[in-house]
């Protein structure tokens, strides 16, 4: 604890890449503001258009919602950790929670006839289809998403 001015975090802001770190109260009410913040940091790095306004916004919203609701069991005393790194090619976002994790491969496809009428279960699916890459750590409480600035030429796996 110090009250010197260097408590203000400094940010590596080279010409070619920037990093952002957030440590957020685990609360659904902060999601919209957190996503706007990350979007405006991306814009400041000349990333814009539908990949930012749709793919990035929805992907990050889903990851934050899952961290708050499932990872942190909607307990407002817990914390969600976000890291973003943007360079001229791509943006990488990590969202981590304090939970025990889960097995992403166990989540069913929400578009099948049995599941299409379910009110839930579309979050991971949207991340998978809107982001270019998604990786979980082994425990399953930290997700790393990669979005290319431009639509990749090869069709996504």
């Amino acid at each position: 604890m110090t009250d010197e001015s260097d408590t203000t975090g400094t940010e590596r802001s080279l010409d070619s890449s920037a990093e952002v770190a957030l440590q957020l109260p685990s609360d659904l009410r902060i999601i919209e503001a957190a996503v706007s913040h990350l979007v405006s940091r991306c814009r400041a790095f000349a990333f814009e258009g539908p990949r930012l306004e749709l793919n990035f916004r929805v992907g990050v919203t889903e990851a934050l919602a899952n961290a708050v609701l499932y990872g942190n069991s909607n307990d407002p005393a817990k914390t969600v950790y976000v890291k973003l790194k943007i360079d001229e090619h791509q943006v990488v976002v990590c969202v981590a929670d304090e939970g025990d994790g889960f097995d992403p491969s166990s989540v069913p496809d929400p578009t099948t006839p049995e599941n299409i009428h379910s009110p839930g279960g579309r979050g991971l699916f949207l991340i998978q289809h809107l982001m270019d890459e998604i990786h979980f750590n082994e425990r399953g409480n930290s997700v790393r998403m990669v979005l290319m600035r431009e639509e990749p030429r090869r069709p996504r796996g």
């Binding site: 306004e53 919602a65 979050g123």
Partner: protein, 110 residues
């Protein structure tokens, strides 16, 4: 973000201004369910001023559609921009909903 409700030709029209996401979906749900309980049966949700929708927002539409159908009512959607249409197509929810291009088209088709 706000939800604005009006009544046009016997249809409850809800405008979604801003985001429809996990943080506010309950508010939309409650608004529509209150009208349904009040006897309304025709609903149009208009997305002309909507930024983005997440999976919880989609989920709330699915569950409202079911509840309205159970009361022999009808739910339509209108004015999905290209980005929002992409979400409905990805999740195949475009097959579940009656989606009109414009508010007028939706209102006259009830």
């Amino acid at each position: 973000m706000s939800f604005h409700t009006s009544k046009e030709n016997g249809v409850v029209v809800v405008d979604v201004d801003g985001q429809l996401i996990v943080g506010n979906r309950q508010e939309l749900k409650q608004k529509v369910l209150d009208e349904l309980e009040g006897g309304e049966r025709r609903f149009l949700i208009d997305f002309a001023n909507t930024g983005y929708i997440d999976s919880s927002g989609l989920g709330v539409l699915v569950s409202l559609s079911k509840k309205i159908r159970e009361q022999s009512g009808e739910l339509r959607l209108s004015n999905l921009n290209e980005d929002l249409r992409t979400l409905f197509e990805l999740t195949k929810l475009d097959t579940l909903f009656s989606i009109a291009d414009s508010r007028e088209e939706a209102l006259t088709s009830f």
